[in-house]
């Protein structure tokens, strides 16, 4: 999956009302809350077979940091 497609899909899952980039901070989003964390965990688990734990959720900042946690090698560019 391309990083841009990932961000687009995840934005849809989280029902974001603003356009985000790879540098956007996830936790500064109006939509970020415990439910958002659950949706994020489920999406990443289904799409990449990667389990994000509570520490990961705590340490993730931008979409780029999320991509790094999932693993750059899982993305096309």
């Amino acid at each position: 999956m391309k990083k841009q497609d990932f961000i687009k899909e995840l934005s849809e899952e989280l029902e974001l009302e603003t356009v985000v980039t790879i540098a956007s901070s996830i936790k500064d989003l109006d939509e970020w809350d415990s439910m958002g964390a659950m949706i994020l965990i489920a999406y990443v688990s289904d799409t990449f077979d990667v389990t994000l734990d509570a520490d990961d959720i705590e340490s993730i900042t931008t979409f780029n940091s999320l991509i790094e946690r999932i693993g750059e090698e899982k993305f096309l560019e």
Partner: protein, 335 residues
Amino acid sequence: MGAIINKIEYVLPEREITNQDLQNEFPDYDFLKFEQKVGIKSRYIVSEGETALDLAIRACEKIFEGNIDKNEIDFILLCTQSPDYILPTTACILQDKLSLRNDIGALDFNLGCSGYTYGLSLANGLIASNQAKKILLVTAETYSKFIHKKDRTNRSIFGDAATATIISYSEEDNIGGFLFGTDGGGYDKLIVRNGGCRNNFDTNCEIKNYGTGNEYSDNHLYMNGPEVFNFTAQVIPKFTKELLIKNNLEVNQIDQYIFHQANAFMLNFMRKRIKIKSENFYINIENYGNTVSCTIPIALKDYSQEITSSEKIMLVGFGVGLSWSGGLVTINKSL
């Protein structure tokens, strides 16, 4: 010979808290989105002086209004994590309040969302070993008493309730194979730290923040949402498959799956992993919220209203402990 579930009744506290009520209290949060994702519209919570025992009494009185003779009850199993007292056992007080016989067994067991399926299996075991013939299984829970007023998430999710189930000796064997699971390494993922013997209730307790605007303290219920979600996602689909093997059934031979009603998003996530069709997977969390050990009997009662012929129903409970249990029941009538 075996055991059957004769009847289920449940009661909810009078005080209803709708999403609109919560929206008024937390104006910055989008409860419509919460409703769409988590599937909860309303929940009921006890008033100040009302307890799990009070709810339990009401649920049991309701069940004895029918054609169940309370003098035939020879065992009470009561599941609660919000007992009236540290001691004595709530089930003992319930025996007296219901004027049940004195020559019966009565005990509480402390489990949360896995409690009802445990209770069914324990009842089946007592009957199979000829120690009891008609068992009153009660679940009664008031988590609302543990939740911090500013813990929006947990206040949105949890509701209070009590249920009563009669399980009795029968020529039919309608309680099938059950399995259990435990991982106490996750004991602190869902916990009320203070008020037991390890840590006293602390009147000057520090207020903590989840990082999403929700507050709690060690006197209150704490839930590590991501960890509980991951535990469920990793353990329960596999456990469900083990239950199918235990009962010699394929996934599509179950008429209805009734899982602990934790939240609709999580339930559907697991449903897809196990490849269960949505019409075979019951979700009724909308009007009750997560009522802990009460969700499965409430769902089973509600679902059974549509039953016209014998159905195989797989029950699976999971949560605080961490603890999980499940099993197969056969139901052939409206409970």
